[in-house]
Symmetry: C2
Subunit: 253 residues, 2 copies
């Protein structure tokens, strides 16, 4: 499998078919020191908003030059941009969720607080740096065309709102318990069939659940509560169920 | 949330509404030492093939007695029994997969070898003991009615075969690359609509992929190759995509 890399600085590649240690230090390091590419090796580079298949042409102390073989036209991105809003989770559960969500095509990840959240937002800036690395690595590994954004919004629910082209879903266990079985399917189909909607924003609560007050606020902001089946899914599993569902219904006929 | 436990010995509960340290040591330990249940606490017990809501009535040195409040009729199991066949994976990747697959409703997990497997089956017996604990814990946590079976079959592919009521799927990246987009959906729908089929067996290869020879053998045994969308999914992610898809199409209208 040809390795894929996202360029930090696209310009030098787009104009000069090269990358430099100065402008693309991460990719340069990966190619020279990790992969140890040689002449004629193939890699995929994402520059601008396209992916290119390239062959290594020349390697110097500070630069790597390529021959551009092909512009890769396959679009690996879900046509409906899907954002997941999730709580801060314990230890490596969030690491794992972020990686898997990226493999499954998530567009954006918003970390926020819930009434019943256990983990507090201590050192969130430092954590975000690590999360960004995880997202980038997963985007490269799954051969995506964009690196999902991951941000922290302290009060997402209080400030929640949907634009005209967004469908809002909140995964709520109480819905599933009450037998709610059709909203998830309906909402994804709506996104697929009605061209007015091209984004889904899906909210997932912590282990302790989402409070009634939070549900009321989200519903009044236009979010629809949905059950995700009859089993209880952990906070880090539920978003993967949703992303798989979006992919299945929208990308696979 | 009321905790759920699978009884090792159902008989003493079904006849006597109790569990003993002697016959149900794990559950006894959990109730007394971990949860430290008191009089009137509620728990859910799975005995025989049913789940019961019970109230703690009396706690002695060797036994816990209950009042049976309700037989829980909600069926959390996917009507189509879904087996996943997966390679041995590195370190905790398999732990995660097993846990998540159980949350998502898997019926049976078969570990096997592929041509391009990296991890060998060293100390598989000891590993299976740990995997069984993980499966049981996840089944309790997700409030399932059965504990999925997890086994090791050294040569699954060589001996692969499907019964009349099984649909076989092999998740193959080459299919997805070639643009195959409809088989997964079709096969799950077939399981849903044709009562002749009530089981799905899905095969997932290792990081290095499935060899052409293995694909040929599986196809000749009745398995259908299917793409799981345009992104490359890791070996531990692809089964979760499939299980979510089965649940979405069969359990949610």
């Amino acid at each position: 499998m040809t390795s894929r890399f996202f360029l930090e600085n696209s310009q030098e590649f787009l104009s000069g078919n090269k990358i430099s240690k100065k402008n693309n230090p991460d990719v340069f390091h990966h190619l020279k020191d990790v992969l140890r590419v040689k002449d004629k090796d193939l890699v995929e580079l994402v520059a601008g908003q396209s992916a290119y298949l390239v062959r290594v042409n020349e390697i110097s102390a500070m630069e790597v030059f390529f021959n551009r073989l092909d512009k890769l036209s396959k679009d690996p991105e879900i046509p409906v941009k899907t954002t997941i809003v999730v709580p801060l989770l314990k230890s490596d559960h969030l690491d794992w969720l972020i990686q898997k969500a990226t493999e499954l095509g998530v567009f954006k990840i918003i970390l926020t607080n819930f009434s019943y959240s256990v983990v507090k937002d201590i050192k969130i800036e430092k954590k975000l740096q690590r999360y960004e690395k995880i997202v980038k690595g997963a985007a490269e590994q799954s051969h995506r065309l964009l690196v999902p954004e991951i941000i922290y919004e302290k009060k997402f629910i209080e400030q929640a709102g949907l634009s005209d082209h967004q469908i809002g879903i909140v995964a709520w266990e109480e819905s599933a318990k009450a037998g709610e079985k059709s909203n998830l399917f309906k909402m994804i189909r709506l996104a697929k069939l009605d061209s007015k909607f091209n984004e889904i924003v899906a909210v997932f609560g912590p282990e302790g659940g989402i409070s009634k007050k939070e549900i009321k606020k989200l519903e009044s902001s236009g979010f629809i509560t949905a059950g995700l089946g009859p089993r209880i899914l952990r906070a880090e599993t539920a978003p993967l169920y949703l992303l798989s569902s979006v992919s299945l219904l929208i990308e696979l006929s």
